[in-house]
């Protein structure tokens, strides 16, 4: 086409004014602005609600934690003349007999093997009658040794857990007639404080969610620094009368060439659910039966997570991401066994600790079934590298992530080395760096918004007082990504 013809057409197009009312365009723009604001609000609210629903929805109500005790109302007074002997014959329902009946056969066995020390008034009485939960772990360990050295226990309790199970069974059968009158199944208000306060504290939960939200808000100023479209206007030479053919075609023109110099920024909000297997290995010097008992008592459930990531696409195949990650690992703790408690309902210790009783002590033996939902809450800072490729409008690739734990909180119950329940927090769980890897895909859904889905494997290690736990997660992630 001749230049003159081109010039004629260019001039005509350049100076042509389309017959349209600018007000109509403006009203359309205003409507779109409102719509977009609405969309952002709705999206933001939706994400917030989704997060809240997941966080609150997965909270196990206090009613789900079951601590059932079979506690006789009557006290058994330890006196030189007290006979704690096996007696399967029907007994008159006197106070003394009720106590005798409700005493476990374990005591009876102990009594059979060696008479209860009647004049041994030692300092242990005071120590052991403290709240069970207040006893430091080291102290408990000492007591374990003391207890296991006792002749009576040595003969009857080679495997404490097995023995406890037997004892619990025997207790139930022996207590049948007693249970009708005096045994009550209820949540014991006098349990060690940390155990009885396991029920989820919504106030604390809200506080922790608030903290996560604050972290998210704290990231928002970064958005202002993200300038995806930086047009080299200095290269633009356009006037009203002419259009330079070298003029960049659009703000996006040259973007492909300049990607290596101008990283693309995006933000992702992700929700994940993971199922896991837990392996507990004992620390040095810990009885192997402890691991066995832990594995039997603690059942893995699932892990929920929320992640907010800031992504920087360094090249068209490599992205680095970081942000904040909240995770909640749930598991179920089941335990069944017997305690000796004093007249003030303080736990003296497990039934084998009977030799620590002294003359004048008034004790009960309680049988306890515990079904408690344990939870570990974690806040991590993840650092993720993704390799990706575009196929049409779909992006897919692989990722690797290391998540550094910056905060964690545990609630629930676990076992100490004596295989008796203690507050999970007392195990002082420390989570190590998590390692994850997997595959992901992104599909555009609305303008600069993408839907993300991922499947990956994650390994998390946690060190505790007596053991090291290794969690192997299979995680499914779904979320949205907004490109700036």
């Amino acid at each position: 086409m001749k230049d003159k013809t081109k010039k004629i057409i260019q001039d005509h197009v350049q100076s042509h004014e389309y017959d349209i009312d600018p007000l109509e365009i403006w009203s359309g723009i205003e409507a779109k602005q409102k719509k977009r604001k609405g969309f952002f609000w709705i999206t933001g609210l939706g994400i917030l609600l989704l997060s809240l629903v997941i966080f609150l929805g997965i909270q196990y109500s206090p009613g789900n934690d079951k601590v059932t005790e079979n506690k006789p109302e009557n006290l058994l007074e330890i006196t030189p003349t007290t006979t704690i002997a096996t007696n399967n014959e029907p007994q008159p329902e006197t106070n003394e007999n009720l106590a005798k009946t409700s005493s476990s056969s374990a005591i009876n066995k102990t009594k059979k093997n060696s008479d209860l020390p009647t004049s041994k008034l030692n300092n242990n009485t005071e120590k052991t009658s403290q709240s069970f939960n207040n006893i430091p772990v080291q102290k408990l360990n000492k007591e374990i040794q003391t207890t296991s050295n006792a002749q009576s226990i040595a003969q009857t309790n080679n495997d404490p857990r097995k023995d406890n199970t037997k004892r619990a069974t025997t207790n139930r059968s022996n207590n049948t007639d007693v249970g009708n009158k005096s045994n009550t199944s209820r949540i014991d208000s006098n349990l060690p404080s940390t155990l009885s306060e396991i029920k989820p504290d919504l106030t604390e939960l809200e506080t922790s969610i608030g903290k996560v939200r604050e972290s998210m808000i704290a990231l928002s100023p970064l958005r202002q620094n993200l300038k995806l479209f930086k047009v080299e206007q200095s290269q633009v030479k356009v006037t009203d009368s002419s259009i330079d053919s070298d003029f960049e075609r659009s703000p996006w023109i040259g973007l492909e060439d300049q990607k290596k110099y101008r990283p693309l920024f995006s933000i992702s909000a992700l929700q994940s659910v993971a199922f896991y297997q837990k392996q507990t290995t004992s620390n040095q010097g810990v009885n192997p039966s402890y691991i066995e008992a832990r594995n039997a008592a603690e059942m893995p459930l699932e892990r929920f997570g929320t992640t907010l990531l800031m992504n920087v696409e360094l090249t068209n195949w490599l992205t680095i991401s970081t942000g904040v990650e909240y995770q909640k690992i749930n598991e179920q703790f089941n335990w069944e066994g017997s305690y000796i408690i004093d007249e003030n309902d303080n736990i003296i210790g497990p039934v084998p600790a009977v030799e620590t009783l002294t003359e004048g002590d008034k004790v009960r033996i309680v049988e306890r079934d515990m079904e408690i939902f344990n939870k570990h809450e974690l806040v991590n800072v993840p650092i993720q590298l993704s390799l990706h490729h575009n196929f049409k409008s779909i992006t897919y690739g692989a990722y690797g992530r290391a998540s550094i734990n910056v905060w964690n909180r545990t609630e629930g119950a676990s076992l100490d080395e004596r295989l008796y329940p203690i507050d999970l927090a007392s195990l002082q769980t420390q989570f190590m760096t998590q390692w994850s890897g997997g595959f992901f895909a992104e599909i555009p859904v609305f303008k600069s918004w993408k839907l993300q889905a991922a499947f990956g494997l994650n390994q998390t290690r946690a060190q505790e007082t007596f053991s090291t736990n290794t969690y192997n997660f299979k995680e499914f992630t779904l979320g949205i990504k907004h490109q700036f």
């Binding site: 086409m1 001749k2 003159k4 013809t5 081109k6 004629i8 057409i9 260019q10 005509h12 197009v13 350049q14 100076s15 042509h16 004014e17 389309y18 017959d19 349209i20 600018p22 007000l23 109509e24 365009i25 403006w26 359309g28 723009i29 779109k32 602005q33 977009r36 300038k227 479209f229 930086k230 047009v231 206007q233 200095s234 633009v236 356009v238 006037t239 009203d240 009368s241 259009i243 053919s245 003029f247 960049e248 075609r249 659009s250 703000p251 996006w252 023109i253």
Partner: protein
Amino acid sequence: MISMNFETLLTRLKQGDQLAFRELVMRLSKRLMTVARIYSSSEEDAKDVLQDAFLLVFKKIQVFEGSEEGAMYGWIKRIIINLCLNKNQKKYRRNEMKLEDLKIDKAVPEEALDKMSHDEIMQLIFKLPDDYRKVFSLYAIEGYSHKEIAEMLNMTEINSRTHLHRSRKILQANIESAKKLVII
């Protein structure tokens, strides 16, 4: 409304002034609508694209480093073209042509064009089929090469040439029929 000079308008736009944004729309809408209409298949689409382009301009105004209204017009025009092309990019793949489709080019009569008004010429362009109109405009108005057009529209270079050739034939036919109408 008292019209402000472009420098003030630009400063206020960069401050996020909604009234300045409105003023920009009032000033440039009619001219930019012509561009939007050329690259869109309908007037409604053109309005939609124009509104999206203005919204994008308002959002990205900080990166605009020009100081003249012409530069602003050129920038928004490129945004409009890009939006239109992105919207329709996929369908060009289906319209591949063969080499034998190419025929000898015939020039659009210049004399006839000279005598035509803005509106008449624009009507001729608007009458072109969508795909032809885009190639014709990118080539004849924006000055892109066939290679560039092929990349932009995700088509082959041959296809771009064919589209241009056919659009010229249609234009030529329309101009001649317009001439006959004038004579009659």
